[in-house]
């Protein structure tokens, strides 16, 4: 068992390092790099005072940002400093990458945790009811609703919600996490302001995710309901409530929990499209901005963070399977 864990961990590390190399290479291929636009900006700013030309700035900045190294050397340098625990300063935001990450990650976590809780509250009862009345009108309704949620494009849903609630009804602001007068509000007012701005993003994310979990609950519940022990329970004369809650639902919890454990990494990876559309300064939106600007350290950090997160969750799932299910044999 230990041998398996060690081997799996080593493999994960290799994958993270290789994946980071691919990302680094692709980032360096980006044609309009951060350095070029900065050089253009500075050349334009100093043009009137007879300062350096674009070419001179470019050469100097390339030197300063170590862009003259070839991809492999650059990557190894980056990897070296990362191993020492230094992810460097973000080019776009001008502060250490980890600090920026700390500032923004909690917006994403809060957004996703609330979404996850709402999802569980909505989906599990719906899924169970749909399974209990299979092929009824209610079941069809739930199925169509779930399918519709799966089929919604994020940007369209977000735009429709903005159109309805922000523009037509005027209940919420279009963008941002804080309102215009945020600074003048009291402490509780500030929190309320942020909650108010979180409503539409949460609604969007919840609607997008509700479909999958409802379908999953329904399918698993159906399988359990066809099992022999449910028939036995009914034959014993147990009430329907007891059959569903005690015997059926408890057995669907196993696949449900494993399904939701897959969702945990997504709490930290943020939801890039939703955050970008609502301009919530979570990790998704901030890293999107960094990527578009060609901010190498921040993009690398975010990508490697995602890589490591994915690998860790996969590894955990593998190990958990091996631990929990005696039929799965490692090696």
């Amino acid at each position: 068992m230990w041998k398996f864990i060690v081997r799996r961990t080593a493999l994960a590390i290799v994958i993270v390092i290789l994946g980071a190399f691919i990302l680094y290479g692709v980032m360096r291929c980006m044609p309009t790099s951060f350095v070029e636009s900065l050089a253009r900006q500075r050349a334009a700013a100093s043009a009137t005072t007879g300062g350096k030309t674009y070419q001179e700035w470019l050469a100097e900045l390339n030197e300063a940002y170590h862009m003259n190294d070839d991809v492999l050397t650059g990557y190894l340098n980056w990897l070296g400093s990362v191993l020492k625990g230094d992810f460097g300063n973000s080019w776009k935001y001008g502060i250490p990458v980890v600090e920026k990450f700390n500032q923004v990650i909690w917006y994403s976590v809060v957004l996703n945790v609330i979404t996850l809780i709402l999802e569980v509250i909505i989906c599990i009862p719906l899924g169970i009811q749909a399974a209990r009345h299979q092929y009824s009108g209610f079941d069809y309704g739930i199925t169509v609703f779930a399918m519709l949620c799966i089929s919604l494009p994020t940007f369209f849903l977000a735009t429709v919600l903005k159109y309805a609630f922000s523009i037509k009804l005027g209940w919420f602001d279009l963008y941002g996490i804080v309102g215009r007068y945020h600074e003048q509000l009291s402490r509780s007012g500030k929190i309320w302001d942020m909650v108010h701005h979180m409503v539409l993003p949460t609604l969007t994310l919840t609607m997008l995710n509700v479909g999958g979990l409802t379908r999953y609950t329904r399918t698993n519940m159906l399988e359990v309901m066809n099992a022999d022990y449910i028939r036995t329970a009914r034959a014993k004369g147990l009430s329907e409530r007891v059959v569903i809650n005690r015997h059926a639902f408890r057995n669907t919890l196993i696949p449900l929990v494993s399904y939701m454990s897959y969702l945990v990494p997504s709490l930290f990876s943020g939801s890039m499209i939703t955050e970008t559309l609502y301009q919530i300064p979570g990790i998704g939106y901030i890293s999107y901005e960094a990527m578009v600007a060609g901010d190498l350290p921040f993009t690398m950090f975010y990508s490697v963070f995602l890589l490591a997160l994915t690998q860790a969750s996969l590894m955990l799932a593998d190990i958990m399977y091996a631990v929990v299910d005696p039929r799965v044999r490692v090696n």
Partner: protein, 584 residues
């Protein structure tokens, strides 16, 4: 199929009669029967059929091209003409020759302060006299040398210049005047002038009007008459008549009548109803070159300005009444009128010609939705095929061989799987932007990248299935009969995975369409002038468009939702149909 044959063979051996024969369906037929009993799946099929018809036939039926730009004419209140009250004198000479600049300058300078009095000045070696004949109307006269008069003691002589003949009476009068020390005298209604020259000589000349100066401008109603009204005699007579308030005058033997009104007047040939010319102090010029202003129009403007009106109606040559407004700018009057302009028909509201209006480029939204649907569906299918092709090959090989090949390929899959999707797509989009990839090439590159990023799921499924299938008896049989490896994998193993793959591919198609739409929405996918449903909704990222022009982005979004829903319904129906456990 083989199962089916077995059953048939059994039937023959048992020789069942028709009454006892069990009706047996082929597995494919059973799947089909189960599928068509699923209402949602049928709804999905109908939705998809509609979408395909809309996209692929719609483009043929639509009268417009996808990149056809529509124009409209719009009327706007624009500057049409400018008018000014003339303060510059206009000169007309008797013989039609232009008056020298020096004379005109002297005249203009002196006339301002002259008031009612006559003025005189020297220019071009001659003396000039200006006589005021009326308000803003002057007669300009000059001396014309005729002879030199010499007075030397008793010798008196009048020597006529070449080509001039003087009557004796004139000569006598000249001598008399010379003796008196110069001056002017009049004989036969002609004024003669004797001015002192060198020493004891005098110059004899006539004083005569050579030009008239006026602030009025004349416009002939018929351009053929321009010559008539430009003659000296006509102008002089007309001006005099105007000043004296007469209603008729005669010039060159023709009688004219006059209708005067403050600063302007109309001149008629005697007995005619249509005016010959209009006279006004107000000069009207078109603002843009190449526009001809009719005399009627100029007269209308003059009249309106004289009456201090701010607007007037004018019936143009086509008989349409136009409303013109007058505004002052400095000393100028600017005349505005509604004018037709040719514009790109942006954000047109839905109409019969454009059922969903036009977009920000002035293109028909419905037509672009049809062509966009082609691209969205095409991208979906091509990417799905590409993913499955790569996935089946890699998954098949990995699952069949197992061991180190499996480990290596699966770690490769892991690596691919853990590379974050959107960072790669954003970078790829930026690279394609910078290289200015043509729109069509861009679609193919996009499909290739999406395919390459998406095959890992298929590979995992194929490998997982094959791992369990390869242990089954029929594989032992293929090994025993010596079928070669590639045939074993792709003819015997992969077809068994097909039902699962078909279900996954159908559901996946919806996802690919969603991903492509998202990329196009972010501006990383399909580019103008081509369209996809996602790039059409991109217009809504502009708040102005989102707020005011729902008909541009909502239909595109509904099409995406319906199409993806259709694929999901069909995929779900297929899964239920393939899965024997799901009994109905």
């Amino acid at each position: 199929m083989s199962e089916n044959n077995n059953i048939n063979n059994n039937n023959e051996q048992l020789a069942l009669d028709d009454g006892r024969r069990v009706k047996v369906l082929s597995p494919g037929m059973m799947v089909f029967k189960r599928f068509i009993r699923n209402k949602l799946a049928i709804v999905g099929i109908i939705i998809l059929a509609f979408m395909f018809a809309f996209s692929f036939l719609g483009g043929l039926i639509s009268p417009y091209r996808q990149d056809q730009v529509f124009y409209k004419t719009d009327s706007a209140n624009k500057e049409f003409a400018s008018a000014v009250v003339n303060t510059e004198y206009r000169f007309l000479t008797e013989d039609g020759s232009p008056l020298s600049t020096l004379v005109r300058a002297n005249f203009s300078r002196l006339v301002k302060d002259a008031g009612d009095g006559d003025i005189s000045f020297d220019a071009d070696g001659a003396a000039w006299t200006v006589q005021r004949l009326g308000e803003g109307f002057y007669s300009i006269g000059t001396t014309k040398d005729l002879a030199t008069v010499t007075l030397l003691g008793k010798v008196c002589d009048v020597k006529a210049l070449d080509g001039v003949e003087l009557s004796d009476a004139v000569k006598d009068a000249a001598l008399q005047t010379a003796k008196a020390g110069g001056g002017s005298f009049e004989i036969d209604g002609q004024t003669y002038m004797l001015t002192k020259g060198k020493a004891k000589t005098y110059n004899l000349g006539t004083v005569g009007e050579v030009a008239i100066a006026s602030l009025l401008s004349y416009d002939a109603h018929d351009s053929a008459d321009t010559g008539v009204i430009s003659t000296y005699a006509f102008r002089r007579a007309a001006e005099l008549a105007l000043r004296s308030g007469e209603t008729s005058f005669e010039a060159d033997g023709i009688k004219y009548t006059l209708e005067a009104e403050e600063d302007s007047a109309l001149i008629f040939r005697d007995g005619e109803e249509n005016p010959l010319a209009s006279v006004s102090r107000i000069i009207v010029n078109p603002v843009t070159s190449g526009v001809f202003l009719s005399v009627d129009y100029k007269a209308a403007v003059s009249e309106a300005i004289a009456d201090k009106q701010t607007a007037f109606d004018y019936v143009n040559a086509d008989g349409v009444t136009e409303r013109h407004t007058i505004r002052m700018r400095g000393n100028n009057y600017i005349i505005y009128t509604e004018q037709q302009t040719y514009l790109i028909d942006m954000y047109a509201a839905p109409s019969w010609a454009h059922p969903l209006g036009t977009d920000d480029h002035g293109m028909d939204v419905l037509t672009r939705l049809m062509y966009g649907g082609r691209i969205s569906l095409l991208v979906g299918f091509v990417v799905m095929l590409l993913e499955n092709l790569i996935g089946i090959i890699i998954g098949g090989i990995s699952g069949y061989f197992g061991g180190w090949v499996d480990t290596l390929l699966m770690r490769f899959v892991d690596l691919f799987n853990s590379i974050p999707y959107y960072p790669i797509m954003i970078i790829a989009g930026a690279i394609m932007d910078a290289l200015e990839v043509p729109p069509y090439t861009r679609i193919f590159l996009l499909m290739a990248i999406m395919g390459i990023m998406g095959w890992t799921g298929v590979a995992r499924v194929v490998r997982g299935q094959i791992l369990s299938l390869r242990e089954q008896d029929f594989m032992v049989a293929t090994e025993a009969t010596g079928i070669r490896v590639s045939r074993r994998i792709f003819r015997h193993l992969v077809p068994n995975v097909m039902p699962l793959l078909i279900v996954q591919a159908t559901m996946g198609l919806g996802n690919i369409i969603l991903t492509e739409a998202t990329l196009s929405f972010l501006g990383l996918g399909i580019k103008y002038p081509l369209a996809s449903w996602g790039s059409i909704i991109n217009a809504a990222s502009n708040i102005y468009v989102m707020t005011n022009f729902w008909y541009i982005w909502i239909p595109a979004g509904l099409l995406i939702v319906l199409t993806v829903l259709g694929f999901n319904f069909v995929g779900d129906g297929l899964r239920d149909a393939f899965d024997p456990k799901m009994k109905r």
